[in-house]
């Protein structure tokens, strides 16, 4: 069902594709689809409303930069607004520090404690953990078992009942270590005695960082819980856990907005290594259920800084071997064609399978063959007769079949591009779009 949602978002974007003037109706439709997508990714409803309002106003009021079409214009605004929300500086410094983890029951604090310990350990820091969960049976055993595996000292008292005392003793025991991570009992905002406990723990530890651990599946409640935790101990970072499921992590986004902090780590898996620094672009792609916009923009930018494409000629429907040469060159820098296509938010548009089949080694061969062609031949492949074919093959050290194959591939590309133009209402092809992605940067 989420697939259908992001498909409708893609459809809405597609409708904007051919337009040159920002169309109020189309933007409204897009914003509405965006709202539904974000809400079904568990982003706080109020936050979604604010966000979509901003996107709507900006899309309608801001003049699209020259050379961009409406779709790119709106996409860029969507992207910027979302990044603005999640992208706060959350540098993880490799220096002595005390980290206090807080969160709801079952959000994955203990597992995360061990994962973070491993993270710092791998960076060459001396790490220790303190188990301040005196409530849940087996909590100490869980943490100490995990720590044993990675050889990190774990301080705790399975029989103790006073978290404050354990933490005080733990801090003494771990004073020679550089990074100390304090795992706490799960609690929620309505349990006032437990909230008082975490306030006390924060005072006792003088924690450098107070990170809130949020389950990726947490729903609308995330904002409220994050706000209360923030009021209590001043959260300065959020960790999303269980991202290996299908949850989108929208709750974490609400929490970040609420605490005005950033996302520090993302946990995605059951082994102790399964923790990553946060990557806003991947996260946003997942929220929206679309390809990785940012990566595409960057890749296109990199690839296009070299030779300029004759976009005008292509827009007129001319596609010569020379264009294909440049295209192959550009694509070569961007990685496999299929991967690139999957990153484009173009919905369910399909290219014929054969287009993908050109491997990078083949691309290199094709270029060598084309190097043996004359300028006239490159501009107008119909000139190539059988005697010319033989000359090209000899010049490139290739067989006649290879040259024929190249020409066949060229014809297929030409047809495909024609098809693309037809499919999306006029002047649209991949190359052209990529160029304009670059233009917006």
């Amino acid at each position: 069902m989420l697939d259908s949602l992001s498909a409708s978002l893609k459809d809405a974007l597609k409708k904007l594709a051919g337009k040159t003037v920002v169309d109020r109706v189309a933007v409204d439709e897009l914003v509405k689809d965006l709202q539904r997508t974000l809400i079904s990714s568990d982003v706080n409803v109020k936050l979604v409303m604010e966000l979509s309002k901003a996107i709507r106003t900006r899309s309608l009021e801001e003049e699209p930069p020259k050379g961009t079409n409406v779709r790119e214009h709106v996409l860029r605004i969507v992207y910027q607004e979302l990044v603005r929300l999640v992208w706060a500086s959350t540098d993880v410094k490799l220096e002595p520090q005390i980290i206090l983890l807080a969160g709801l029951q079952g959000s994955g604090k203990t597992t995360t404690t061990a994962k973070i310990a491993r993270f710092f350990q791998k960076k060459g820091m001396k790490v220790g953990v303190i188990c301040a969960d005196t409530f849940r049976p087996g909590a100490y055993e869980q943490l100490s078992t995990l720590c044993e595996k990675i050889n990190v000292p774990c301080f705790g008292d399975p029989k103790g009942h006073d978290a404050r005392k354990i933490v005080k003793e733990g801090l003494v025991a771990t004073k020679d270590l550089e990074v100390v991570i304090v795992d706490t009992q799960g609690r929620h905002a309505l349990e006032s005695d437990l909230i008082q406990e975490i306030i006390d723990l924060n005072v006792i530890t003088k924690a450098t960082h107070r990170w809130l651990v949020i389950d990726a599946a947490l729903g609308q409640q995330a904002s409220e819980q994050a706000r209360r935790f923030h009021e209590a101990i001043g959260i300065d970072g959020v960790i999303i856990t269980k991202m290996d499921g299908t949850a989108k992590g929208g709750g974490a986004m609400s929490a970040v907005a609420e605490t005005k902090s950033g996302i520090v780590f993302v946990g995605a898996g059951e082994t102790i290594e399964d923790i990553e620094r946060f990557d806003p672009d991947g996260f946003i792609s997942r929220l929206l259920g679309m390809g990785d916009l940012r990566a595409l923009m960057e890749k296109a930018e990199e690839a296009m800084t070299g030779d300029e494409m004759d976009v005008n000629a292509m827009m007129k429907g001319k596609f010569s071997l020379r264009d294909m040469y440049k295209q192959l060159e550009a694509l070569n820098k961007m990685g496999p064609l299929k991967q690139i296509m999957s990153m484009l938010p173009m919905g369910n548009m399909k290219l014929p399978e054969g287009v993908y089949d050109v491997t990078s080694t083949k691309m290199v061969r094709y270029r060598i063959i084309m190097d043996s062609m004359t300028d006239a031949e490159l501009d107008d492949p119909t000139l190539i007769t059988s005697s010319r074919l033989q000359r090209i093959a000899r010049g490139a050290g290739a067989s006649l079949e290879e040259v024929r194959e190249l020409l066949k591939y060229y014809k297929m590309m030409q047809r495909t591009l024609k098809g693309l133009r037809g499919a999306s209402g006029g002047k649209f092809n991949m190359q052209w779009m990529m160029k304009h992605f670059t233009g917006t940067q």
Partner: protein, 342 residues
């Protein structure tokens, strides 16, 4: 736990009231008498032809139009979404309320309130389905009744088993727990401590053992000791992990549970629906337990899960102690949500 939702629904209901009420105001405002609360359980279907004719002849009436309610309904939709009711579920509820309101012939004497409340009540009851009486089930089925608990990581399966165990013990049943979570560090210790505290026998193997074997042994123990109920714990697993799901299928094959209980948390958002559906598809579920209901006063997840997998909600977990578990009764909840006047 439904306190927050109740407040919101009340507000939405008032909005519907005024938007429908506003239409009639000019001509009939003075006639509007608030009739006493009419009990909802009336046939949700359309009035029969005879009734219609009777109404047409005897009572003057008004027809509620789509326009009258659309604004209030979109407000209601927001309310539901904010309460964590998943998108498809809230769509279903809205559609239900819309069809039952629009085109309805409303007698002038009848209060708008009644009409709206009835529509909402029916919509919620349709979505929530019936409850599940575990005590009754155990009484009427052959012993031992084998109950398998499943769910994703960190939803509170182990704690729920301890609570259910304690609940059943109080009802006079004998219970044995199988420590089927052999994966997570500390899981066996956790359930062992719980079992000791509530005084229930537990069958356990070592960490890393085959959970199917543990649970098979548990069932054998129950049979030979004539124990009434087997509660089987399992490791939390994501529906996306094919190997873990097939392990669960194996467990199911080996221990042949009478009931499969799906455990999820009340604070989960839209993903609750996706994973519930996936669990239901791969290994099935006979009833649902929602945990951590004390964290959240909205309870939207209850509504969406029940709607998606169409399985009854059995218990709500509402706190950290063993008694914090309450059997769920949809009629009562709906009555509580909409019954009391503001």
């Amino acid at each position: 736990m439904f306190g927050g939702l109740k407040k919101r629904l009340l507000a939405a209901r008032n909005r519907l009231d005024t938007s429908i009420g506003a239409v009639v105001e000019p001509s009939t405002a003075p006639v509007e008498t608030t009739s006493p609360e009419v009990p909802a359980p009336e046939t949700p279907g359309f009035p029969s032809l005879v009734d219609k004719v009777k109404i047409l002849i005897i009572d003057r009436e008004l027809v509620v139009s789509d326009k009258d309610v659309s604004e209030a309904l979109s407000a209601l939709e927001m309310t539901l979404l904010e309460s964590d009711v998943a998108l498809p579920t809230s769509d279903a509820i809205i559609a239900h309320v819309r069809t039952s309101l629009v085109g309805k012939h409303r007698k002038i004497g009848e209060s708008v309130d009644t009409l709206v409340v009835r529509a909402l009540k029916n919509a919620l009851l349709t979505v929530l389905g019936n409850g599940f009486d575990l005590t009754e089930y155990i009484k009427t089925h052959e012993h031992p009744v084998k109950i398998l608990f499943t769910g994703v990581n960190g939803t509170g399966k182990t704690t729920t088993i301890a609570k259910v165990g304690s609940y059943l013990k109080k009802q006079g049943f004998s219970v044995v727990i199988g420590a089927g979570d052999t994966f997570r560090a500390g899981a066996i210790e956790q359930i062992d401590v719980h079992a000791q505290r509530i005084g229930i026998k537990i069958i356990q193997h070592q960490s890393g053992a085959d959970p199917s074997a543990v649970l098979f042994d548990t069932v054998q123990y129950a049979i030979s000791h004539k124990i009434d109920v087997v509660l089987a714990d399992t490791a939390g697993r994501f529906h996306t992990k094919a190997n873990l799901m097939s392990q669960l299928e194996k467990i199911k094959r080996v221990m042949k549970p009478d009931l499969v209980i799906y455990v999820d948390e009340a604070v989960a958002g839209n993903d609750a629906v996706i994973r519930a559906a996936e669990f239901e598809r791969t290994i099935g579920a006979d009833a649902v337990v929602l945990t951590k209901a004390d964290m959240d006063s909205r309870g939207g997840a209850a509504i969406s899960i029940a709607h998606t997998i169409n399985k009854p909600l059995m218990f709500l977990g509402t706190g950290q102690s063993y008694d914090d578990i309450i059997p769920f009764s949809p009629a009562q909840v709906v009555e509580e949500l909409l019954g009391g006047d503001a």
